[in-house]
Symmetry: D2
Subunit: 134 residues, 4 copies
Amino acid sequence: MFTMTVVPRFGDMDMLGHINNTVPAVWFELARNPFITMFDPELRLKKETFPLIMAHTEYDFVAQLYFQHDVEIRTWVSRIGTKSFTVYHEAWQQGRLCVKGSAVMVHYDFNTEQSTPVPDGQRLLLKEHLLQAE
Amino acid sequence: MFTMTVVPRFGDMDMLGHINNTVPAVWFELARNPFITMFDPELRLKKETFPLIMAHTEYDFVAQLYFQHDVEIRTWVSRIGTKSFTVYHEAWQQGRLCVKGSAVMVHYDFNTEQSTPVPDGQRLLLKEHLLQAE
Amino acid sequence: MFTMTVVPRFGDMDMLGHINNTVPAVWFELARNPFITMFDPELRLKKETFPLIMAHTEYDFVAQLYFQHDVEIRTWVSRIGTKSFTVYHEAWQQGRLCVKGSAVMVHYDFNTEQSTPVPDGQRLLLKEHLLQAE
Amino acid sequence: MFTMTVVPRFGDMDMLGHINNTVPAVWFELARNPFITMFDPELRLKKETFPLIMAHTEYDFVAQLYFQHDVEIRTWVSRIGTKSFTVYHEAWQQGRLCVKGSAVMVHYDFNTEQSTPVPDGQRLLLKEHLLQAE
């Protein structure tokens, strides 16, 4: 599991006084930073060599999030496929699960625009964060 | 069907030279503006009377979106339930479907923090935009 | 003058029921799209050849912006220097000026990380949109 | 001085491989959270009682910010006026000042839509963070 704490911003609230539903999607992207490092260890961040593309996101909003308290983002790997893997996220505030959901990331070659197998090295690293293993 | 055209912003690109995956979620929220008007016709936009809350979003990224061309967002109602309804979105660029997905909106009373039935008037309005009807 | 119309998004409001102050900065970036085309006409959008970097922004918030109405962004060139130029923006809603301000863009070589003179061709194009000329 | 550390997000980069210029404005808003608490100590966050509105922002982009490293935001009060005060921000990455700038916040009554004097209590709290005092 990866954890990070995010601090809500005044403008993250909407006029309902809660955090707008587009905000957790951005927090979850931030929480996937460890996968950037895992798949691009030198952080070259060049299209020619960067190997991940987003295929699917789905999020359940199970309780309202508010500005007043920090939010803890917990992140696991929930599936390791041949050419893709799924990341599972939870956003907690004051001991309450508020948002949960998944993002499917495909191992991808931006030069050929084709998906490619997840390399063995990264497969091992992903396994260390498997939801089932914990 | 509702349609709107959005123009990508320079900062919507990430370092891969395509539109970052968090951006269409924001465009789809914009494309749901007609539902704001449908359920809050005078646009009072007060927590005491505003009746919608987001319960679920899921988006499939089927082709890359780029900065160079406008994007057309097409929006339908795909399901009308007792206390919620589902909005279905597609993002098209240069004749190609790039992102598709759904958002489940719950009819909600922010005072009691309970879901409530979709009123008949709004139910009729939603039906006019049913995906199956077109 | 360049003009574009932007539609406020529900999440652009903050809990004060007005558009959050970070939002017009994003709209103004969108309104600078014509300068992207002016300086990178083929929209190659590559770091090796893209010639603009942001040096300074300043915005005055003179009236509140609301969700209920479209916003018109008006954009001029207010200064053409040797190696930089200034863009002047106004955001209008319902006939009222709500935000005005400037962005200083430097002609820049990302390979050498040095500012470079604005080419004569672009200088002519910028002149066509000079605030004083209108 | 207030300090906070922010972690760049993949989508905060633009296609130039650096952090897009609209991003530090959002970080600076986050860094102003202590002023929210200072002026709305119970965090009621209601339009009827919240007393601050943004009047002006200006930011100088003096060096490029990158994804690879955390960013430290340092925040001071640089001016205390009768009905407004100015916040001064700096964004540092790897020991280098990258962005600096100011935000002018007006003490404001959203009911009457008039500026009002900064109360003595808050004036004292602001003084503790005066740039000149350090």
